[in-house]
């Protein structure tokens, strides 16, 4: 268990950061957005959320069935 926690900690806190400044002063992820690849990330997150919400709805339905039986 401790190994997993250590691994997760490393994953979360050791990702590289770059400090290259663009001309406009504040650096934003404009490159990522102009290439359009950000939509891939949004699609993945929406899919995960949709699946979790569908799962919640199915649990809700099961509980309702049990309530009606009792």
């Amino acid at each position: 268990m401790r190994k997993y926690i250590a691994a997760i900690y490393l994953l979360l806190f050791t990702a590289g950061t770059s400090f290259a400044q663009s001309d406009s002063g504040v650096e934003m992820a404009d490159g990522m957005r102009s290439s359009g690849k950000i939509y891939v990330v949004v699609a993945v997150i929406v899919l995960i959320l949709l699946a979790l919400i569908a799962y919640l709805f199915s649990i809700d339905r099961k509980v309702k069935k049990l309530e009606q039986k009792n």
Binding site: F13, V46, D60, V63
Partner: protein
Amino acid sequence: MKENWWKILASVLVLYSAIAGFLGEVPQLPILHESIRNLYFHVPMWFSMVILYLISVIYSVKYLSSGNENHDLKSVEYVNAGVVFGFLGLATGMIWGNYTWGSPWPNDPKMNSSAISTLMYLAYIVLRNSLEEEQKRAKISAVYNIFAFPIMIVLLFILPRMTDSLHPGNGGNPGFSSYDLDSRMRGVFYPACLGWILLGVWIADLQFRIRKLQNKQLN
């Protein structure tokens, strides 16, 4: 389906906050850069936690005046769901803090007091589990809950404001409202908060109904 409208609303709002949270325009700020988008995900965790604890304390008061067992069960399950949101808030705050403040735990007063308040609610769960007799357990934990809630509010929203804190809106720091929570961000931030609160209420409600069924089978 008619009584489920708020569950659908919760799903739609959370999905909307994920899509608009990534694709919407955000103010360009130094140090924060794109991580300002965490506002849509980290802060709603805390708001949901506070609302879930508030609902729990209302049911605790109701239990003390009515003695209805269901009120007691509701107040426990709302705390259980609230603790999950509290831990999510702490963990997401540690990730965000690591990249903007330089450390996952910079001993910020708001962080320390949110950790204390989470421990306080863990103590509530331990207290409940240590009591065998049902009525006694319900009564003692309801009283504890009523005391814990105002302490949590003081720890999270009053004490950090009286000292120096890294969090916006505390200790002379300007709040998000004054410099960068502009109308574009409000349009995502408020729906995100409402969506996550409703989702938390939904999960707590499911847990309560399952607990009720279990109790019925035992008796």
